[in-house]
């Protein structure tokens, strides 16, 4: 089936088999490998992309369902060679370790911040609850998102005894 969709502001028209999921379409047909596959079952959130303003697990959506949709992937986050505020905050706050969950995590966080300029810690935790991270223990990610909204008053640091 032929589908047309917008990804990161660019229009794509592609022939796609009906049972191909959006994740594999994005990675294999469009060559956008920033979106990762962690479980293929909608549990881990590594494949999160933004579809028509909402975060979705792209592994649970068929590519044909995205016909006519407006998508954003991690590749659309930095603009003009500059990191977005959120990306910058992830960098500054050591919110990245292995980096495999990071693209999906940033996508979920972005949707939160698009509708909520000053989310509370609880709201941040809720927003990224569907994104597993095995390395960081989430704390530095939460701080990065707080920082991106100008809410991280005191940088939590390592104490020296």
């Amino acid at each position: 089936m032929k589908i047309t969709l917008k990804v990161n502001g660019r229009k794509y028209t592609r022939e796609v088999v009906e049972n191909k999921n959006l994740l594999h379409f994005i990675r294999e047909d469009l060559g956008l490998t920033g979106t990762k596959e962690g479980c293929g079952a909608g549990e881990c959130g590594a494949c999160t992309v933004i579809m028509n303003g909402r975060p979705v697990n792209s592994c649970l959506i068929l590519a044909v369902e995205a016909d006519g949709a407006d998508l954003q992937t991690i590749e659309g986050e930095a603009k003009n060679g500059k990191l977005s505020k959120l990306q910058h905050a992830f960098h500054e706050n050591y919110a990245v370790q292995c980096g495999f969950c990071t693209p999906g995590m940033i996508m979920s966080a972005k949707v939160l911040l698009d509708s909520n300029k000053k989310p509370t810690v609880e709201e941040i935790k809720e927003a990224i609850e569907g994104n597993f991270c095995r390395c960081t223990g989430y704390q530095q990610i939460i701080e990065a998102i707080q920082d991106a909204t100008g809410q991280l008053k005191k940088k939590e640091g390592l104490k020296r005894a």
Partner: protein
């Protein structure tokens, strides 16, 4: 490498330097193995056994071979190669015998993953299903089926391991220190109990992925999501009897490992498929389900501890018996057994110690290295047991720990003398105790208890670990000076998330006195291009590679000084350097820049000297020994990193639900190289440890089939599961031979959190737990059990201690049974069985995440 250390003058060491690999990771530009595509690349898939133990009666792959688009089909009959780290016991594909659920039986390579899957579906297999051996405690049962009847024929590392042919014992590690029998007789109290934990999955977010290419003339190229390129190469060479130089292993960005990617896994299979397919590259990307059963997990442990203690709280004897549930193959489990055997007591001094640690083959998915290398598992037993003994002594558990903590002058279980610079575990415990206000409830906490009706409990536990590695573990760092005065590092430590590369860049920048931006540490490692490193495991990377980095930077400078000495006609002793070049101390304008000397210094007339500049640093662990196989004595420890956790939990007395209020962790890291990285390791590992403590673990049926190989039924912690407050504290007792005094802390954060949780829950609601994980329903059950079964086994040998200890041990539970709330809770809870929060969430999650969210 502590010489001339003036901490105040340091520019990079100790700072929260940003990661050198973060930009490509936050933009999605970092390429992991799964992102790589090659011309002609095929996709491999693996057929797995649905049985735990079986004989393959018949296997027919003819239909699969005939399917269009299929380029290779392999079964165990086609591959006569065995692989193994320490004990060579595993065929690449099962040959005749199935030893665990999920074991690879056949594999195909096809033009697309869809065709490969179709081909798998066309393979016909007839199994003769056999009774599996599942309980490692039955290891001495002579009638038990043997997982490896050929154990006596396998190659193994004889200097270190002791398999027992004719049994399911893959290794028996012994430790004998002092006179245990006599000490037990002298003890006032002898207390024995058993603690258990199941298999656990590492869950790196990136599953195992490898791309293999086997060219004519046995030239092999492998791209893989592995932790240790040279280990993959070495084991590959041994298995196939191919020269090391013919095998090239390349590691791109890796999405987490935690030990699960430490050995060799999918690489040989990819390459064998490629060979059949005429050298076309073959990629195998494990599914998440395969990650749980085809690929290795963490071994389970049954741990029996018998402690003899004096009334003053001093432990005088301890007998420790470990049954490691290794699963079907020995892999790292034999070494987990060895490493945990020699530190099985935790960071406490045991004058008279006796350890029997058995690696037991069972018909389950096999165990491998997992962050902590056995210490997470046994720390559960040790730290629960310390509280159990303290309770019997009627002594505060922290005080009891302090009395027995290793300190300068103590001897470790292997006879190693602990000195001031080994580190300070008491200080770690002190720091976390202060952080959580141990021993009392604050006014706010009292108010909270009143408001919520939930009980608050607190605990402090301690931990230690040394790298588990061969005594000859070494590494190399090469620094290549570039034309513009930047430097590019070449080495083979990998950074699959820990941040070690950033720390190494800081160390190099510090020694060179250059801006860190001029140090490049490429993420990819390549055995053809980069020099040897043993492995990236064991929390040894920072210490060994950090020292190699210091030596390489010094060597680079030395070579720069050589050039400058000639060019400036000066003795080296009159030279100094800064970020732009080498100069004469008393005529600072008289200088040669790094750019001028990078590829060879040229005089104005064209004459040139010295050639391109490279700095080399080689470092190998100093003074380590193999352990005596009969008594476990020797010096196995590169360094000991000590730590402690303080944990505050709130528990619902009626339902057993609990919630983490605070975790404070302290580690004696020797010297903080990167403050953000230490904190990242501290928090990340602690939460991973809480996963192990709260909810993770394999569940089998009686046929040995794994029932929960997915995130739906085997949840890991999410952002909603983390404690309300997290405190990370670094203690810095310098390690004399560590880079700037530093020691590793990659694994330690995960150790003993489980015990901290169990102890705090017990303190809150008197639920006595001996099995981990502690699912919320387990707390509820333990509270019920308490009310029903008050007497505990605490055997006293000597009359003075005897009665009092028995009484005390029995008293606490009795008190609990008397409490009216408890009785009420029991009735209520029995009516409405406690619902596991995890299960609830698991059910909700797919619905919530499946489609666009609100």
């Amino acid at each position: 490498m502590l010489d001339n250390l003036n901490k105040k003058s340091l520019k990079y060491i100790g700072k929260a330097e940003r990661r050198i690999d973060a930009v490509e990771k936050v933009t999605g530009q970092a390429l992991y193995a799964g992102d790589l595509e090659f011309a002609g690349m095929l996709h491999g898939k693996v057929l797995r056994s649905p049985h735990a133990r079986a004989r393959i009666k018949k296997i027919d792959v003819s239909k699969a071979r005939r399917l269009e688009g299929v380029h290779a089909v392999l079964t165990g009959q086609d591959l006569d190669y065995r692989v193994g780290l320490y004990l060579v016991d595993k065929y690449i594909l099962a040959k005749d015998t199935i030893r665990h659920y999920g074991e690879a039986v056949a594999a195909v390579a096809a033009e697309t993953p869809v065709i490969a899957q179709k081909a798998l579906d066309l393979i016909e297999i007839e199994y003769e299903v056999q009774t599996p051996f599942l309980d490692p405690k039955q290891v001495f049962d002579k009638k038990a089926p043997l997982v490896h009847p050929d154990l006596g024929k396998y190659d193994y590392v004889e200097a270190v391991f002791t398999p027992v042919p004719g049994t399911n014992i893959a290794n028996h590690t012994k430790l004998r220190k002092g006179d245990v029998d006599k000490a037990f007789k002298d003890a006032d109290l002898v207390i024995e109990r058993e603690y258990t934990n199941p298999n656990v999955q590492h869950v790196p977010m990136e599953t195992h992925i490898a791309i293999g290419k086997w060219d004519m003339g046995d030239k092999i190229t492998v791209y893989t999501s592995a932790q240790s390129p040279f280990t993959v190469r070495n084991l590959f060479a041994h298995a196939f009897k191919i020269p090391h130089a013919s095998i090239r292993v390349i590691i791109p960005y890796v999405g987490g490992g935690f030990g699960g990617k430490a050995g060799i896994h999918l690489e040989p299979l990819c390459c064998c498929l490629s060979k059949v397919a005429g050298g076309r590259p073959v990629k195998i990307q494990a599914t998440r389900e395969e990650e749980f059963s085809l690929l290795p997990c963490r071994s389970g442990l049954i741990y029996n501890i018998k402690t003899g203690v004096k009334k003053n709280g001093k432990i005088v004897a301890q007998k420790m018996t470990m049954y490691w549930d290794a699963g079907a193959y020995a892999d790292y489990a034999v070494n987990v057994t060895r490493a945990s055997g020699f530190s099985a007591s935790g960071p406490y001094e045991i004058e008279n110690a006796w350890v029997d640690a058995y690696t037991v083959y069972t018909n389950k998915p096999f165990g491998t290295a997992y962050r902590g290398f056995g210490h997470v598992e046994f720390s559960w037993g040790v730290e629960r047991h310390m509280n159990y003994v303290a309770k019997a002594l009627n002594m505060d558990p922290l005080k009891f720990r302090m009395i027995n903590a290793l300190k300068a002058g103590s001897k470790s279980m292997t006879g190693e003398e602990i000195v001031e610079n080994t580190g300070n575990v008491s200080k770690c415990m002190q720091a976390v105790a202060e952080s959580i206000n141990y021993g009392k409830l604050t006014a706010a906490e009292k108010a909270r208890e009143k408001k919520t009706g939930r009980k608050i409990g607190k605990s402090v536990v301690a931990l230690h670990k040394a790298p588990a590695m061969p005594p000859f573990t070494g590494t190399v760092m090469i620094l290549k000076l570039n034309e513009d005065g930047t430097v590019t590092a070449s080495h083979s430590l990998t950074d699959y998330g820990m941040g070690t590369y950033t720390s190494l860049a800081q160390i190099i920048a510090e020694v060179l006195r250059w801006p860190i931006e001029r140090i490049r540490i490429p993420i990819e490692t390549d055995t053809d291009r980069d020099p040897y490193d043993w492995q990236t495991v064991a929390s040894k990377g920072l210490l060994l590679s950090g020292n190699a980095a210091i030596l390489a930077a010094r060597d680079l400078l030395d070579k720069c000084y050589d050039v400058a000495a000639q060019a400036l006609r000066a003795q080296k002793c009159d030279l100094d350097h800064d970020e732009s070049g080498v100069f004469v101390r008393h005529h600072t304008a008289h200088r040669v820049t790094y750019q001028q000397m990078a590829v060879g210094y040229a005089y104005p007339n064209g004459n040139a000297i010295c050639g391109p500049i490279v700095g080399v640093g080689r470092y190998i662990a100093q003074g380590l020994t193999n352990l005596n196989k009969e008594n476990g004595q020797g010096n196995p420890a590169l360094d000991w990193t000590y730590g402690a956790h303080g944990l505050t939990v709130e528990v619902d007395e009626k339902t057993g639900e609990y919630h983490l209020i605070k975790v404070a962790s302290a580690y004696d890291v020797g010297c903080v190289i990167n403050a953000a990285s230490v904190r990242g390791q501290a928090i990340g590992g602690m939460i991973q440890g809480l996963g192990t403590a709260m909810c993770e673990g394999y569940i089998y049926n009686d046929k040995g089939q794994l029932l929960n190989p997915s995130f739906t039924d085997n949840k890991i912690p999410t952002s909603l599961d983390i404690p309300e407050e997290i405190d990370c504290i670094a203690i810095e007792t310098p390690q004399i031979d560590g880079p700037f005094g530093a020691r590793g802390v990659g694994e330690h954060s995960m150790i003993a959190v489980c015990g901290a949780l169990g102890n705090a829950i017990e303190e809150a609601v008197n639920a006595d737990l001996t099995h981990m994980p502690i699912r919320q329903e387990d707390v509820w059950r333990a509270m019920q059990k308490k009310a029903e079964k008050p007497a505990r086994k605490a055997r006293a040998l000597k009359s003075p201690g005897k009665s009092s200890a028995k009484e005390k041990a029995a008293k606490a539970p009795a008190k609990a049974a008397k409490s009216p709330e408890k009785a009420k809770a029991k009735v209520k809870a029995a009516k409405a069985p406690a619902k596991a929060k995890k299960t609830e969430k698991a059910e909700k999650a797919p619905a919530k995440r499946g489609r666009p969210r609100k």
